[in-house]
Symmetry: C2
Subunit: 314 residues, 2 copies
Amino acid sequence: MEKKKRIVIALGGNALGNTLPEQMAAVKITAKAIIDLIEEGCEVVIAHGNGPQVGMINNAMAALTRENPNQPNTPLSVCVAMSQAYIGYDLQNALREEMLIRNIPDIPVTTMITQVRVSADDPAFETPSKPIGHFMTEEEATLAAEKYGYIVKEDSGRGYRRVVASPKPAEIVEIRAIRSLVNDGQLVIACGGGGIPVTLQGTHLKGASAVIDKDFASRLLAEELDADCLIILTAVEKAAINFGKPNQEWLSDITTEQARKYMAEGHFAPGSMLPKVQAATEFAESKPGRTSLITLLEKAKDGILGKTGTSIHQ
Amino acid sequence: MEKKKRIVIALGGNALGNTLPEQMAAVKITAKAIIDLIEEGCEVVIAHGNGPQVGMINNAMAALTRENPNQPNTPLSVCVAMSQAYIGYDLQNALREEMLIRNIPDIPVTTMITQVRVSADDPAFETPSKPIGHFMTEEEATLAAEKYGYIVKEDSGRGYRRVVASPKPAEIVEIRAIRSLVNDGQLVIACGGGGIPVTLQGTHLKGASAVIDKDFASRLLAEELDADCLIILTAVEKAAINFGKPNQEWLSDITTEQARKYMAEGHFAPGSMLPKVQAATEFAESKPGRTSLITLLEKAKDGILGKTGTSIHQ
């Protein structure tokens, strides 16, 4: 029997909906795309973002503290943990159900609470820039800064928001357990929201006020699992150079050298397509034979069959 | 090499503290007791309650909905899922750290989001009696009943609370993944809060407005993993007959027949010691050689060594 192609999929948090009813609808579409890949004979591992979801949970915990001052503030790392369960529970059920509906032998599906270690020396901690949670007035922002040590910034004229660092992932703490299940042929949801960010302090893993980019966490997960392919799913079918300009050009098949050149030329938007191309390129560079694919969720199967998407390879 | 003794531990949610700082202190004590058992050569699987924690999360999600009426209500099943991550994250870290401190070869530790199927026909659904969440005024209770279909009851003169059913666990949905890791010698935290309660509706697993008793879920987990021992940790060192009376007698070593007799005689408090003795008895009855132990967290090691606790066996 031919060895199955192992794929790590990075799902966008935005694609999972802003509310629970939206999520329950979204995971059905997601499950179809993923089970398509399994029917194509691939071995799939799933990572995902959590932007809207961790924002909602963070707001809920803050609302509780406002109503009851005896309720301690809930750190962002704990909110990330809860978002992994909030998303994973629905997603694993949708995957299980899609296998049942298609009458294919069901594979055990599980969500693993995953911590991702970052370096306390990561320069990102010096310039926190990722806004999270709800908007605050200047007064609320000042209070939050005093009370919880939050770093707050004015956000596009709409008020103040907390900003946190987005450090690079250094280690997936639960990788051995994830690897065990994946090697056993099981379907694992891991590194949700980029993983719970922790720093090592002596023997202790301490939650960090940070969010890890899920594309970078997925890249690390793919490397650690010796995957053949990293698929980054997003809102466009392909990446483009000269995006939105008359000479815009969709990218179908590029080498890592080309990708590096286009990144250096500033073709990809920071915080949007840039981290995706960067993570995809790094994965393709990490070992001969590894390829990355950037495409739409609904096109994942076509992408794996070489029919669409932006493929990046050595 | 002698086969390791496989133990499923049922931890009380109350022992995990009411707030995050309390939990972070409590998991350190819990981790010591569990790593003691690992040092004794046991293979350990951990299940736990979530009473205070799921109540807190349920309150936070309700506070968010009160502040923002566009925010849909969060079902209890989703709150249970989040509580598994909230507790598991801290507990797995404390376990990992305790192994490092003792300089013993560290075992991968993971929290698995676990669903437990209950029967939609379970008679418990007809008489919901388990109070959860915060107290409400009569007006709020009426509104919650109308808006969310909650069943509310007056609770000991302190106001109204939502009550939910406590059905019996029928199946642990993620058991194959749990078994894989346990058989691989890894340390797994599963069935948190008794598991996310779901009922099977066609191909769909639907979240149920219920809480599953963690002692019964732990019993099922122990049976499914073919464990040798079920340890139910509680606030007393031993169960007793004629509890609180002049002829009170601590129980050290009893047969399942004796346990059945004492239960029938009404020696154990419903909702407190009774479900523990019942779960312990059912496990010991399920296969020759299986034993159960009810004791204090701090006495778990002494209990395994036969020095204390209430041991129930065939």
